[in-house]
């Protein structure tokens, strides 16, 4: 498995999440329904193989660990990401985050306001959960990629 292969698997999965699942999450009738979708999202993304999870890719949450890989296409100035987490709900939330930023240019990524987007999806509480789930750490890692 290479980064290229992971990227090739991630991009269409994100597109699918964006086109189908986001609406479903927004319209979920109860928390159970929302969480069932959230946990399916993580499964759509490819898993990063254990031996590729180098220490420098680790994004530490208080309760679970996640990994982020980054590819910058210099010709188009677009940023692409691959991520994995040991917790399914966190991976689902990170998948949503990723489908919002994947393929953005450096300027777009710098300006991106995740809080606002998550608010629109009724997911904002997950960002304010301090260091607990590692989402805020993942946001700053992604932002760091464009700086």
């Amino acid at each position: 498995m290479t980064l290229e292969q992971l990227l090739a698997d991630t991009t269409p999965a994100l597109l699918d999440i964006q086109q189908r699942d986001l609406t479903e999450i927004k319209q979920a009738k109860d928390w159970q329904a929302k969480y069932r979708v959230l946990m399916q999202l993580g499964k759509k993304l490819p898993a990063i193989p254990e031996k590729m999870k180098q220490p420098e890719l680790l994004v530490k949450g208080c309760e679970s660990r996640a990994w982020l890989m980054h590819y910058h296409d210099k010709a188009t100035d677009k940023h692409y990401f691959v991520l994995d987490s040991e917790a399914r709900i966190v991976k689902g939330l990170m998948a949503i985050m990723l489908c919002l930023v994947n393929g953005m240019t450096t300027a777009e990524l710098c300006q991106f306001d995740l809080c606002h987007k998550f608010d629109q999806l009724n997911l904002k509480p997950y960002l304010s959960q301090s260091r607990g789930n590692g989402l805020t750490a993942m946001v700053s890692r992604i932002k760091h990629c464009c700086g």
């Binding site: 159970q32 969480y35 069932r36 309760e63 679970s64 917790a87 399914r88 709900i89």
Partner: protein, 405 residues
């Protein structure tokens, strides 16, 4: 003798009236405060607030009296021989740091050994590590048996290495297992070791008797005994406290200062640098006085009833991996849902307003020993009810259903 009335007990906690929808099972992290504690702290700030031991006015004398009465309440609660054996500090972590720092050089010298156990949380590992590395002191660790109890045979073998200090928890913060502390102290003393007991979880389970237990140090935090946060107790026998080099300096701990030399005040003040947490000490004292209105044996019975119900309910839920033993358990259950990450289980419980802790509970060495990424921890207190137990079980069932769908 009337039985323990959990509803009457629970009514003393405003929190449960404010947040009736929550099931609070994170008591090993911190406990709720009864009205008696909140009132004592409020009353101090509203009526007596002043610094202690140094004011030239009556207000300060009143604050000093209340603060010293708090010391006396703690001393008699744990049956310390002398008032000056009670050192107020910010909590168990601060106390363990003081002991580890304080024994280096005065007791522990390069090449000496100390003995810890596999069950310890970071506060009873890292302070030792920090100072042992600097002073060249070796740390040995007592392993566990297959049912995750302390391996007493191994403990006795490791004592033959003649550790100068043995430091262990009264009750494991992850598994809830009660250690045979009395036997452990006796065995350690037989080889001449100084004994340190981390009572962070033990203090609320049982009223410890220092003179009977005969340990050299016992430490605990007020907030795990219905008291305020930021106050804790370092108990030490007089002759052992005298051997501690103060970790903090300044304020009342000083007798006289010149730029050539400083002489220190007598105990307990020598180890209480700076302005103490006066309101915290008064709050802790109020917690102890309030708690003594109840029969601890009945509370222990009530908690074991909750635990029994919880264990029975757990066996009916599929795919539950229980790490805690139901015997010698003080009311803490660490568990996982098979092949699921504890963070996911905890989040699904959180959605159902069940407060538990998840992760490695500041005990990473224990989890690497258990070969688990972490666990969720349900910890019960006297104010928890059978209804809390049942709601948690139902929520767990719902979590399992969502996770395995």
């Amino acid at each position: 003798m009337p039985t323990f009335d959990v509803q009457q007990f629970r009514q003393q906690f405003a929190f449960f009236q404010q947040q009736p929808e929550w099931v609070y099972l994170d008591n090993a992290a911190t406990m709720h405060k009864p009205q008696a504690v909140i009132d004592a702290v409020t009353q101090f700030y509203q009526q007596y607030n002043s610094n202690v031991h140094r004011g030239a006015h009556q207000l300060s004398q009143r604050a000093t009296t209340l603060f010293e009465q708090a010391r006396s309440t703690v001393a008699s609660y744990i049956n310390a021989q002398h008032l000056h054996e009670i050192i107020f500090c910010s909590g168990a972590t601060a106390a363990l740091n003081q002991i580890a720092f304080g024994l280096m050089h005065t007791v522990l010298r390069p090449g000496d050994r100390i003995l810890l156990t596999q069950l310890e949380h970071h506060a009873n590992i890292v302070p030792w590590q920090l100072h042992c590395q600097r002073f060249g002191v070796i740390i040995d660790v007592v392993p566990l048996t297959p049912d995750h109890q302390l391996d007493m045979a191994a403990y006795q073998q490791l004592l033959q290495l003649k550790p100068k200090v043995v430091s262990f928890s009264h009750i494991s913060n992850v598994l809830g297992h009660i250690q045979p502390v009395a036997d452990m102290v006796t065995l350690a003393k037989a080889v001449g070791a100084i004994t340190v007991i981390d009572g962070a979880q033990g203090i609320v389970y049982q009223q410890p008797d220092m003179q009977q237990l005969d340990c050299d140090f016992y430490v605990f935090s007020g907030h795990k005994l219905y008291g305020p946060t930021g106050i804790g107790v370092l108990y030490g026998k007089t002759e052992q406290l005298a051997r501690l080099t103060p970790i903090f300096a300044g304020g009342e701990m000083i007798d006289s200062v010149s730029f050539i030399n400083t002489t220190f005040n007598k105990l307990p003040f020598r180890l209480e640098a700076g302005t103490p947490n006066i309101a915290g000490a008064i709050g802790l004292s109020a917690a102890i006085e309030w708690l003594q209105k109840y029969n601890n044996q009945q509370i222990v019975q009530h908690k074991s009833l909750l635990l029994k119900e919880f264990y029975t309910g757990l066996t009916a839920i599929k795919a539950i991996d229980i790490l805690s033993s139901s015997v010698h358990n003080a009311g803490i259950v660490a568990l996982n849902v098979d092949s699921e990450h504890p963070a996911d289980v905890a989040e699904l419980l959180n959605q159902q307003q069940i407060a538990v802790r998840s992760g490695q509970h500041c005990a990473m060495p224990l989890f690497s020993y258990l070969a688990r990424p972490g666990a969720i921890r349900c910890s019960f207190a006297a104010y928890n009810t059978l209804d809390d137990v049942n709601r948690c079980l139902l929520a767990l069932e719902q979590a399992v259903e969502i996770l395995t769908a």
